[in-house]
């Protein structure tokens, strides 16, 4: 069984989500490009800088998208009390984000949107390109 599917069924079994939500999540999973083999696999960062002090620098980084999925899965093991502390700390920093909202569906949606992500910064000292492939 697919890991994401199992996670959704576990959440349903534990009463964290309703049957309707589970159905929607499973439907979203089936729609997700990972089922069709077109999943985004890597996040690429290319930097081509030419600093007067340090000279020319080239950076080429390729990070597997699976790392993002695994990292988000780590939030699932944070105890409830710690989650509240994390949320409070984020709120204090001006980031109104609830880590309880990180679900497999949200994550897959985010990764799906990353497919279109392309950040290009071009100035006289550096060219930076961030994209997914």
């Amino acid at each position: 069984m697919n890991e994401n599917r199992r996670q959704i069924l576990d959440m349903l079994a534990n009463g964290k989500i309703t049957a309707d939500e589970a159905e929607r999540l499973l439907a979203a999973l089936e729609r997700s490009p990972s089922q069709t083999g077109e999943a985004v696999k890597y996040l690429r960062v290319l930097v081509d800088a030419n600093d007067a002090l340090d000279g020319p620098t080239k950076v080429n980084v390729r990070v597997p998208m699976q790392l993002l999925r695994a990292g988000v899965r780590l939030t699932g093991i944070i105890p409830a009390t710690a989650r509240d502390q994390v949320n409070d700390a984020l709120r204090k920093e001006g980031i109104p984000f609830d880590i309880n909202n990180i679900t497999p569906q949200n994550l897959e949606e985010m990764i799906e949107h990353l497919r279109d992500l392309s950040v290009d910064v071009d100035n006289e000292h550096a060219k930076v390109r961030v994209f997914c492939e």
Partner: protein, 92 residues
């Protein structure tokens, strides 16, 4: 065991400082590190279990998630090339 659930088994590292005719090319057998870590983990298991029970963490899920993060690093590639050095690392 599926390859995607295994942590990286090796790393290729190239380092070439400026002025060196030849750089250093290494293949690091990371699987040896995991082989060393495994007995340590088994020794620490009772302590981890108690810690997990006290903190209300599911130990099995935690270990699985940590292994997932390690496994997900496979395929990572970092290359830096500047005036002082050339550096390249890839996790397999």
């Amino acid at each position: 065991m599926k390859p995607e659930i295994l942590p990286p088994l090796g790393a290729t590292v190239h380092v070439k400082p400026a002025g060196w005719r030849r750089g250093i090319r290494l293949w690091l057998p990371l699987f040896l590190v995991w082989l060393l870590v495994l007995p340590l983990l088994i020794l620490l298991l009772p302590f981890l279990l108690v810690g997990a029970l006290v903190m209300g963490i599911n130990l099995w899920r935690s270990l699985k998630a940590i292994n997932g993060v390690l496994a997900a690093t496979r395929g990572t590639h970092v290359e830096v090339d500047n005036r002082d050095t050339k550096f390249f690392i890839r996790l397999h």
